[in-house]
């Protein structure tokens, strides 16, 4: 009989980046790289675990922006173009490395991987990876949870309750459209919680969410079990707190598994290493060198000299690390069980893109972990939060504390010198959106153009609210793009607001916006009323 539970949570998210107005667009690579390096490898792991009857449990958020991109025919087409080019590149690489056995073997690995991506994406799942994840949800192995519609950081949106409600309402509606039932859980963007948010969650049937450790731990009244049991907010929605020890083992730059010297080095990429003329056809229009996703070296050590990657050795290390992680969870659960009068739950959330994209061997680590948990021990049982609540319905009532999982634990990442200027505009736009929603009833005005303008105004507001833009402004790479996206969406919103108020809608302008920012076609602006 188990002594505790382990809940692995993966947060899969990318902001909405879609630019049909350009022949190709650098930032669209975020999606394509994540598909090839994270989403497809995860789907392959789930398929292989299921095929071997390993009873795994993973909770995974697929954000509405990510779902919108994964199900968008235009981006699906572009992904196929992208992966087809990579297959070509890997074929040249197999030839080019013929006289270097170590690299040759790796080139063949990449060729096989890219071909597999194309097969899984196009043939196996008919271009729709959301349906792939849904398959595992329907099998009861994966609990897919939602996230705020465009990943808006909610503690800084509290001022506009209607905008917060819209972020949740649209997310819930979008979830139901894709998964055939309402979402039971939510990943709050950046784990950003403020007291009272649970009221909105409950309104849309959401039963649980996550906070960083101090969100639960500093809850009031004082939570008896720390982060090792959920607490019920006063309205009955459950909050699960992040376990720091298991987080640190994976995340920590110093002690974390992904930094092991055997693992693949992220930075050494043939996009930078090889002769310019040779790789030029695979770069973007402006010809700037970028990562192409073919990487031949291992981390090796704190040195610029890198040794070639040895796949078998790296996989051995991933198995070893999975064993170490399991051992530590067993000890943790045993000890907690001895001092608690119930079975502890250890909640370990990670960004999904950590696995595969950043930590190349991450998906295999997950694969090993769930196999070991299934076959090698009985102390810790993988579980989803919903299953936990079904088995342990009695939990302490307490209100979590305002918190996020960003640096220093509160709002500072998204509210500091580089990005604080956005809130004046976001708040005003949200206020204006509610004004528009209240002053305009469907059918009155009767013309379809105004209705479309109202819905598009809501889309522009939502896209401006993505926490990603403020995050990029702070972290300092690709800042120009984030600033431009913020300004464009706010200005587009303000322009539509003016046009609707003055009853003079520029059809061409509206259509251009509809074609580019085509997220949430089902959206009804009345959600802001």
């Amino acid at each position: 009989m188990e002594k505790g539970y382990l809940s692995i949570v993966l947060h899969a998210h990318l902001p909405f980046v879609r630019h049909p107005e350009y022949e190709d667009f650098l930032e669209e690579d975020w999606l394509f790289e994540a598909i090839s390096e994270t989403y497809i490898p995860l789907v392959n792991v789930f398929d292989s675990l299921a095929a071997d009857n390993v009873d795994f449990r993973i909770t995974m958020s697929l954000t509405p922006t990510l779902i919108a991109m994964l199900t968008d025919p235009f981006l699906q087409e572009r992904y196929l173009r992208h992966i087809t080019r990579l297959i070509q590149l890997s074929e040249s690489e197999v030839e080019r490395t013929r006289w270097q056995p170590q690299f040759h073997e790796l080139a063949r690995m990449y060729r096989e991987r890219f071909n597999n991506c194309k097969y899984v994406f196009e043939t196996k799942y008919g271009r729709n990876l959301v349906s792939a994840f849904k398959k595992f949800q329907d099998m009861g192995k994966l609990e897919i949870i939602t996230c705020a519609a465009t990943h808006g950081f909610l503690p800084l949106m509290e001022l506009n309750p209607n905008a917060v409600r819209a972020q949740i309402a649209i997310a819930a509606q979008n979830y139901e459209k894709h998964f055939g039932r309402p979402p039971r859980g939510i990943w709050l963007p950046e784990c950003g919680y403020y007291p009272g948010l649970e009221e909105v969650l409950k309104q849309y049937g959401i039963k649980f969410f996550f906070t960083d450790s101090h969100g639960v731990l500093y809850g009031s009244p004082r939570p008896k079990y720390g982060v090792f049991a959920p607490i019920y907010c006063p309205n009955g929605v459950a909050a699960f707190g992040r376990d720091l020890e298991s987080s640190k083992q994976v995340w920590s730059a110093q002690e974390g598994y992904p930094g092991d010297y055997c693992y693949r080095d992220f930075y050494r990429d043939i996009g930078f290493d090889l002769d310019y003329d040779y790789i030029r056809p695979y770069l973007h229009g402006d010809g700037t060198r970028t990562n192409l996703g073919v990487k031949y070296y291992q981390i090796t050590g704190p040195t610029d000299h890198k040794e070639p990657y040895v796949r078998a050795r790296a996989l051995g290390k991933a198995a070893e690390h999975a064993g170490n992680f399991m051992f530590n969870r067993e000890k943790q659960a045993e000890y907690l069980f001895s001092i608690m009068d119930r079975k502890p739950i250890i909640v370990s959330p990670y960004d999904a893109e950590l696995f595969g994209h950043w930590w190349f061997e991450g998906p295999e680590w997950l694969d090993f972990l769930f196999r070991k948990l299934h076959f090698d021990q009985d102390t810790v049982r993988p579980i989803t939060p919903m299953e936990y609540l079904d088995e342990n319905p009695k939990n302490q009532k307490a209100t979590p504390s305002l918190s996020s999982w960003g640096y220093k634990g509160y709002a500072e990442v998204w509210l500091e010198g580089s990005n604080d200027w956005v809130y004046r505009h976001l708040h005003k736009a949200a206020q204006r959106m509610t004004e528009l929603a209240r002053n305009n009833n469907p059918g009155n005005p009767s013309d379809g153009l105004t209705l479309r303008a109202l819905n598009q105004a809501a889309r522009e507001l939502l896209l401006a609210q993505s926490s990603d833009w403020a995050f990029i402004m702070k972290t300092g790479t690709m800042v120009q793009y984030a600033v431009k996206r913020t300004k464009d969406h706010v200005n587009s919103f303000n322009a539509l607001y003016g046009m609707i108020t003055e009853k003079k809608i520029d059809r061409k302008f509206l259509e251009d916006l509809e074609n580019r920012d085509n997220i949430f076609p089902e959206l009804n602006y009345k959600v802001y009323a």
Partner: protein, 367 residues
């Protein structure tokens, strides 16, 4: 126009002047920067007659107050934006565009009288505000002569657990501010308390007139709650252990530390194990800094040739795909050592075969 004349103008008037001259200004630009821009633009005309110069309020006493009470909010965008905009405006011909074009800059303000307060963390809040020139003038007028040298200020009220009526706060303090449209980080230093901020005019004799009142916010606790639930009680020693474990400090490995005890204030070392990176940082992480000087060198060998388009060509036993005109090119990374490159072409009817076998060797010295 002289610098001293420009300094007499209000920020709003400077902005209008800049707009008239076609000088682009970025969001959140401050008065000294506008003046710099205006002075660098050639042939600045005199300001319109109706603009009435007012004394900039109390610049000297402000610095001290700012230093105590908060830190200035930095301007949002990189500095080169100004230069870019000036460059762009040089080519602005003044003819309105035919179709609707999106502005490249955000509105400077929205014509509201408004102040908003946001929570940054247990110790800091952030406020932004705007008040219309008109409102400001009316309120100055209402103050009579005292209005002439009244200055803008923020009044920070502690309104914890009260329904604030403007007078029943637990205490308040003022921060002198500069701009009609601006923002400020307010160091309240008090976790778990509620605050409201008024934007107002403060007279030299200490009277305060509210121009706009903010929403109320509550800063989060930065320690465990003192409130206990009888049904879920646990001995302090047990909670301490749970607490230490919740903080990721494993007593199993003996890594527990005295300063995570409740007695130490109940603080957790958050941030240590925070991801510190979102999925976006993962998508395009910043490249590690390389050492100052470096040099790499690699060699590749290009093998190319031509034959009849329908011939079969192989190199080192592996088939080669020909272009429609019968030419082909292969490219190999060339390591140290000797390569014997057997190439053969066979005619389509398999009657004729030619072999060409170059030998290439590379040896490298490094010093």
């Amino acid at each position: 126009m002289k610098k001293s004349d420009l300094e007499k103008l209000e920020e709003r008037e400077l902005l209008e002047l800049a707009l008239k001259l076609g000088i682009g200004v970025r969001e959140g630009i401050r008065k000294p920067e506008i003046i710099k821009l205006l002075r660098s633009a050639k042939a600045a005309p005199t300001p319109p007659a109706e603009s009435h110069a007012q004394d900039a309020p109390h610049a000297s006493s402000k610095a001290g107050r700012h230093a105590e009470a908060g830190q200035p909010a930095e301007a949002g965008q990189p500095a080169q934006t100004i230069q870019q905009e000036v460059e762009e405006s040089k080519f602005y011909t003044g003819t309105p565009p035919e179709e609707f074009r999106l502005p490249s800059e955000l509105p400077y303000h929205y014509g509201d009288d408004r102040i908003v307060l946001l929570v940054r963390d247990p110790h800091w809040t952030y406020s932004y505000w705007e008040v219309s020139q008109k409102k400001l003038e009316i309120e100055r007028g209402n103050l009579g002569r005292a209005g002439d040298d009244a200055y803008l200020a923020l009044r920070v009220y502690d309104v914890t657990d009260v329904r604030f009526d403007g007078a029943n706060d637990h205490g308040h303090y003022d921060i002198g501010i500069y701009d009609r449209v601006g923002n400020w980080y307010v160091n309240t230093g008090m976790p778990g308390r509620s605050f409201i901020v008024d934007l107002g005019l403060k007279t030299q004799d200490g009277r305060f007139v509210t121009l706009a009142r903010s929403n109320a916010v509550r800063t989060p606790r930065d320690s465990v709650s003192d409130v206990l639930d009888e049904e879920w009680m646990v001995p302090d020693s047990d909670f301490e252990r749970i607490f230490a474990l919740s903080g990721g400090l494993s007593t199993l490995t003996g890594a527990s530390s005295a300063d995570v005890r409740l007695a130490g204030g109940g603080k957790l070392p958050f941030g240590i194990a925070s991801p510190g990176m979102g999925s976006l940082a993962l998508m395009s992480p910043v490249k590690k800094k390389q050492r100052a000087f470096w040099f790499v060198l690699n060699t590749e060998l290009i093998v190319y040739g031509a034959t009849e388009p329908d011939a079969k060509v192989s190199i080192q036993g592996r088939p080669v795909t020909l272009r429609p005109d019968g030419t082909f090119t292969l490219r190999f990374a060339l390591p140290d050592g000797k390569q014997i490159i057997e190439c053969s072409a066979t005619s389509a009817d398999e009657v004729e075969t030619r072999c060409i076998t170059p030998e290439v060797s590379r040896s490298t010295r490094v010093r």
